[in-house]
């Protein structure tokens, strides 16, 4: 069990939760997070928003989408929560020019990833109100923010050696098309969001189709290259 240090509402349905503890974790990895008792039964997968091992905390940014996350939103400082992780492969970190592209709650893994890359450019797209923009601004990086429309319109893929992306499936599919259209030869990494049960590779409810067969989002993912993964229509 871990103690919640804060759980702040940052938009009408997005919260930023800080949990005490000395956790390990790479950019793009996630934790299975569960209230200490009661329903719902299953933990929910939340990616690392920030992790400061020396300062003894980890942060998650999550959107309220169902009963599980609705209950997270009711948690207060001092409440307890159960974390299993870090899980998944995370983003491969490379040198070179890189862009971090997030759509909606897909920005969650990008903040921590940014601190592992050499001056990446940030592209953050929101449907309505932006959130945690101040945190991203404090990184002092070049940053494009859009509200409505597609953040991908701001992105010229060939300006980068590596692109790290997380967002809704429609956006990720659009990025795959863009990759073909722009003949992009760099690395386009897509982080997928899937419903999960165990989070550790046993239950196969988060399987995705790839060119080399089914892969588990929780173990072989959540990060896949745009060339290999087939995203459901």
């Amino acid at each position: 069990m871990a103690e919640i240090l804060s759980n702040i509402q940052v938009s009408h349905d997005v919260f930023r939760m800080k949990v005490a503890g000395e956790y390990e974790g790479k950019p793009g990895q996630f934790f299975m997070v569960r209230k200490d008792r009661g329903l719902p039964l299953l933990p929910r997968p939340l990616s690392i928003f920030d992790l400061q091992k020396q300062k003894h905390y980890i942060e998650f940014l999550y959107q309220v989408v169902g009963e599980g996350t609705r209950q997270f939103a009711h948690l207060r400082r001092g409440d307890e929560i159960e974390l299993t992780g870090p899980l998944g492969n995370g983003f491969p970190i490379h040198e070179g020019r890189s862009a971090l592209v997030g759509g909606g709650i897909g920005i969650a893994p990008l903040y921590y990833t940014a601190s592992h890359l050499l001056r990446p450019d940030l592209y953050l797209g929101f449907r309505e109100e932006p959130y945690v923009i101040q945190a991203f601004k404090s990184l002092g990086l070049s940053m494009q923010v859009t509200v409505g429309g597609s953040i991908l319109d701001q992105l010229s893929m060939n300006s980068y050696d590596h692109i790290y992306m997380c967002g809704p499936e429609g956006m990720l599919r659009a990025a795959q098309r863009m990759q073909t259209e722009q003949g992009y030869k760099g690395n386009l990494y897509l982080s997928l969001e899937k419903r999960m049960a165990c989070g550790i590779g046993a239950c196969l409810v988060c399987s995705v189709k790839t060119k080399s067969g089914n892969r588990r989002t929780c173990v072989e993912g959540p990060v896949f290259t745009a060339q290999e993964v087939e995203i459901d229509a």
Binding site: L42, C198, G199, A202, K209
Partner: protein, 310 residues
């Protein structure tokens, strides 16, 4: 001195906790979290003769006190299992159960034969990877086979008969709660020479997306498991255990030590834990410790003292 052991079809389990098929992979995912050889046994991910990709679309939906899954038996196929995972199973000190599925009877039979043949080869060098076969005629998530054989006793009889003829490995039959005549089905398994019954598989269930005006699952129905099904599972285990002379492995919504005890008291020889493994990876070990604590607190030395007491 506590005795948690139980024996099913001549196979001794060090305790009654078996991890249910489809919730534990082939075991190795959980070894990071605890020593799984503490368990009585595992029933591996359901296998079919040929690899299966599983179902498309949403595969999980949580409901009040339960989950619905529509995985659709995604698995690497029996030959790949025998070539890869079975070698790891050789090293495990617990009862290893292959859960056997199939699209048609010939596939079940061929699958059972491959497993038997593999057993003979390993036996020749003094090794063993599989202790039992659990015949799955109850998966609600596949179009062919699966629960299609698990509804009518007459249909199930042929599968059980033919698989029994094909293998001498101890044979469990995992029954569907949707069977038309559950006690008759279990009686048939006894007549056909099965060694035990696993009861219950998930219950065929549904969830509607009212905005999309359709089922959330592409294959329409999905299998309900978890605490929501436990009262039904207990009643079914009780009925079958009272009327059939085969050991019953009780399964359905176990999430505490006293849940295990309830199943034992209704007559189960052992139990399977499924959905609860998803709550946290260490859940199996916690249940075992809880069972030991319960027996100590209640002054129970052996589960034989309480088995079938209700």
């Amino acid at each position: 001195m506590l005795d948690l052991s139980c024996t099913i079809a001549g196979v001794r389990l060090k305790n009654p906790l078996i991890m249910a098929s489809g919730t534990f992979g082939f075991g190795k995912e959980y070894t990071r979290y605890y020593d799984i050889s503490k368990l009585g046994g595992i029933s591996g991910k359901g296998l079919t003769l040929n690899p299966k990709q599983g179902n498309s679309g949403l595969r999980i939906y949580e409901t009040a006190s339960g989950i619905m899954n529509s995985v659709g038996l995604e698995n690497p196929g029996i030959p790949a299992f025998l070539a890869n995972e079975a070698n790891d199973w050789e090293k495990l000190d617990l009862v290893r159960i292959v859960n056997l599925g199939g699209d048609d009877i010939d596939q079940y039979v061929q699958g059972a034969k491959l497993i038997s043949e593999d057993c003979r080869v390993r036996q020749a060098r003094g090794a063993r990877a599989v202790d039992m076969i659990e015949l799955n005629i109850s998966c609600p998530n596949v179009k062919q086979g699966g629960a299609a054989y698990g509804i009518k006793t007459r249909d199930a009889r042929e599968v059980v008969q033919r698989v029994r003829d094909a293998t001498s490995i101890p044979l469990l039959v995992k029954l569907s709660p949707d069977a038309e005549d559950l006690v008759g089905m279990a009686g048939m398994c006894e007549e056909e020479g099965a060694d035990g019954i696993t009861l219950i598989n998930t219950i065929s269930a549904m969830k509607i997306d009212v905005y999309a005006r359709k089922s959330v699952f592409q294959s329409k129905y999905a299998g309900l498991s978890g605490p929501a099904v436990k009262p039904i599972a207990l009643r079914m285990v009780h009925q079958v255990a009272c009327q059939v002379n085969l050991p019953v492995i009780g399964a359905g919504g176990i999430s505490s030590a006293t849940d295990i005890v309830e199943f034992i008291m209704t007559g189960a020889s052992a139990v399977q834990v499924g959905t609860h493994n998803f709550i946290r990876p260490q859940a199996g070990e916690e249940l075992l410790n809880g069972l030991i604590d319960f027996m100590n607190a209640e002054g129970i030395c052996s589960l034989d003292e309480i088995r079938g007491i209700v």
